[in-house]
Structure formats: C-alpha cells, structure tokens
C-alpha cells in the first residue's frame, strides 16, 4: 500500500470505531502514525493491525479552552507498545493522571469522519 492508501484505511478503521496501528513484519517494530515504510528498517512489509484500544496515560495536561471548558490533552501508551497524542474525554478529572488506565472512544470531529479519543476506565 502507498501512503494515501494507508491513510484512507486509517480513516475507514476510525469510522468503524477500530483503532489501527502498523506492525513491520520484517523487524517487528510497531508504530501508529501512518507511513508506507518502516522507520526502523525501511521495509515495506507492513501489516495494519487493530489495537485493543486500551492503555495508560504517559503524561497529560489540563487547560481551559476558548469556550471555557476544561480540556485534557495527553500522551497515551497503548498496550501494543505505541503512543498516541490525543484528548482525554471525561467528567472525572480526578481519574486523569500519569499511569492511570484509559480506553479509546471515537468521536466525529470533522463532518463524516471519526477520530480516536480516550476516556477513563472506572
């Protein structure tokens, strides 16, 4: 697959509420941000995989956005070993801190296109 095909596949996964990631079948490296080539070994033998969507907060920060809402942005380390930079959506701010468990939650942010977000696990 070329890059545009991979990006298209990602968008399709998102709309099906599935979290994709890529595994290099040559060296085993696992990554999230879409590339048509492995950044460790330059192999094109890549498989698009589906993540369980569960992970831990690696770091996070809370701020008040332009609409006056408390917003959380963080780095999430998924169980499969890759990291995503995304918003954490929750009303339970006290549950949001480093090492706390989170799971993926999809939300339509651009018309017709969902994207992965994360939410706390009770």
């Amino acid at each position: 697959m070329n890059l545009n095909e991979i990006i298209q596949t990602y968008y399709e996964y998102f709309n099906k509420e599935k979290l994709p990631y890529i595994k290099c079948t040559n060296c085993g490296y696992v990554f999230y941000y879409p590339r048509a080539i492995c950044p460790k070994c330059l192999s094109k033998k890549l498989s698009i995989m589906e993540s369980k969507g569960e992970g831990e907060i690696y770091s996070e920060t809370k701020f008040v956005n332009e609409k006056g809402q408390v917003t959380i942005i963080g780095l999430i380390r998924l169980e499969e070993g890759f990291m995503i930079y995304a918003n954490i959506l929750t009303n339970r701010l006290e549950d949001v801190s480093i090492n706390k468990k989170v799971k993926v939650k999809f939300k339509e942010v651009i018309k017709g296109q969902k994207f992965p977000f994360f939410t706390t696990i009770s």
Binding site: Y85, I110, F115
Partner: protein, 389 residues
Amino acid sequence: MLLGFSSRYEKVYQGSVLDLIAETVKEALDMAKLEPKDIDGVITTWLPWIFDGTLAIGFPENYISEYLGIRPRFTDLVQYGGASAVEMFYRAYKAVKSGEADRVLCVIGGKGTLMKKQLREGGLERLSEVEVLNILRNNPFDEFIRVYQDMDPISFYAMVAARHSKLYGTTDEQRALLAVQQRYNANSNERALFRGPLTVKDVINSRVVSTPLHLLEITYPIDGVLAFIVGKGTSQLRSMDIISYGDAVWPEFFAERDVDIVYTPTIESAKKIDFNLNKIDAFEIYDAFTIMVLTELEDLGLTEKGKIGKFVEENDLTIKGNIPVNTGGGSLNMGQPAYMSGIIILEEAFLQFNNMAKGHQVNGADYILVNGLGGWNTHATTLVIGEKR
C-alpha cells in the same frame, strides 16, 4: 570573530519588520565599522507569520539581502526553531573558518505578536481548517495530530513538567524558584520587560495556564530582531572564539520518541562539549518555560536527571550566586521575540563576554555556555564561548 551586534525588542512593534531589521542591521554594521558591501554571507531563519504576518516566504535569505542591498556569496537558512539564533552563530563561525565567507550577517526575529492577531482576526478565517493544515505542516502526520485540542507548544512542556514531577517528585515551588532567581537578575537589567519583586508564592498564585505550568513560568511573546556579524578581522569587541560546540536534532514527533520526554536533545549536544563546566562563568539557557531550563541543566550534566529540584534549592543561580543562569533575566523576563528565546540568550552571552551587561554584569565573564533548544525539544545547540586560545 564577533564584529558587531544590535537588537530591538518591543512589546508590540507598529512598523514593518523590515524597519526593525534595517535599524538593527545598521547598528550592528556601525559597531563593526562595516557597510552592506562588506557583507558576503547571510544567515537567517524562517517561521510562519514573523515577517509582517506573512504565512510563507520562498527565499527568506534573499528577502533580507535584497532589501538591504547585500550581495552574498554564501547563504544559509537555519531551521532550528527557537534555537536558531545559537545555531546561526555556530554556522556563521564555521563558514568564516572554512573560508566560505569573510563577513557573515545573521538576522533573526520578527513580529511574534502578529500570529495571534492573524489567527483570531483575519486572513486565515477565510480558509477551512483543512486548508490551513495543508499550508502549515510541521510533520508528515499533521492531520492525525491537529485534530485534537491543545495549547501547542505549551501543552508539550506542560506534559514534560507533569512527568518530571511524577517521576522525580519535582515540585511547583522548585520550578517557581527558578523563575524567582531569573527575576532577580532581570531587576538589574534595564531592558527587561518584567521587573519588580517576585516570590515563589507569586508564581504559584499566578494563573495555571496548562497544568502544572503557571503564567509566570511561560514567556510572553514580543516583537524583536537581533542582528550580528561574524567575520575575519578585529573590531572594538573582545576577540571571541567558539571553544566547544555540539548540536543534536531529534526529528521525531514526541509521541514516537524512544527517549522519555523528560530528556532534551541537550543530553546529546552536551556530550560533544569538551570543557569543564566548573569553569563556566555564566550559563545562558533557553527558557521559553521554567521546565526547559531545569531539564537542560540536568542534560548539560550540572546534576543528575531528576535531581534538579534540589539543585535549584541548594545553589544560587542569580548573578551574585555560585552558578549564574540567565544573567539578564532570560526570555522569561525579556519576552520572547518572534517565538525564539535563543535571540535573548545569545545576545546576553555577547553582552556578558564584552563586559557590556549594564547593571547585571557577572565579574570576569570569560567563559559562557549558551544552550539553545528548539520547539518540542527537537533541536539543541550547545556552545562554549571564550577568548581565542
């Protein structure tokens, strides 16, 4: 080697950036007793919006050379973000050493305040989010990053601060103490934008912009330009040499880094420094945020990773102290010209070395370490300057 320099910093500059550039370059040339025709090298940097709110310029080196009537035989465009000023100085030095050019003019800065204005009021609103995204891309995965709400780049450094606290127990008070010590220096610097008494409590009580960072831990964007000339021959300035240097580039998006985000590329650039840090008389350390200075001081090797909180408590980092850091008050108190604090720390090194730091001069500033750090911890340039040996 440094023949002349000049700068202009303003909270909001009303004229064109070309006016600011022309004035500072003229003053730097006057100090060096040179004319535009004597300049045969030009180095600059480019960030969107900094040249009068223009989103993109094709050839920034030509843009400046053309306006000032300079015909260079050597040009370079340094894209090290906030660290660009420091890297430009190093590249100009190398160009002169290797004979690529005899007198290199470096120009950096612009109107940082225009970006906010442009984003809020004009121009870009006519474009859709996707269009803006495609005009302005910082990495190949922008559409998978910018879809989220953040306070870029504050969010990244806030996450670094949060993680540093989680891993090592670094407190808000310890970060605040650094801001207080830099303010002490600013109080002796008549050019500082922010002056007046400041306590740890004041910093802690200032608004939390993005947890855990407070307003008084973050630089204020201003307009400004630094121009300097590096070249052969002598001038009224003290003979200066780059005694040791190192740089490092971490191109990865921070979510894909193999190293923990509490490390900066200074950990690599500093490894190339062959100079005893005990002999450094002043440290000019990139300070867009308090946490940057703290992590840089660790990565330079002044203390172990994770021990910086205790280090700032046990040492005096002011101009009267044992380890003077950001002797003019740093960018935290001078403001951040066009998003690049490297401008402030590099000029402060020039001032200290030439005994020109009016009111905030460190006695016997013979060896100065300058550490530039580019946005999201992507670029680091570490220099030790001193007299030719």
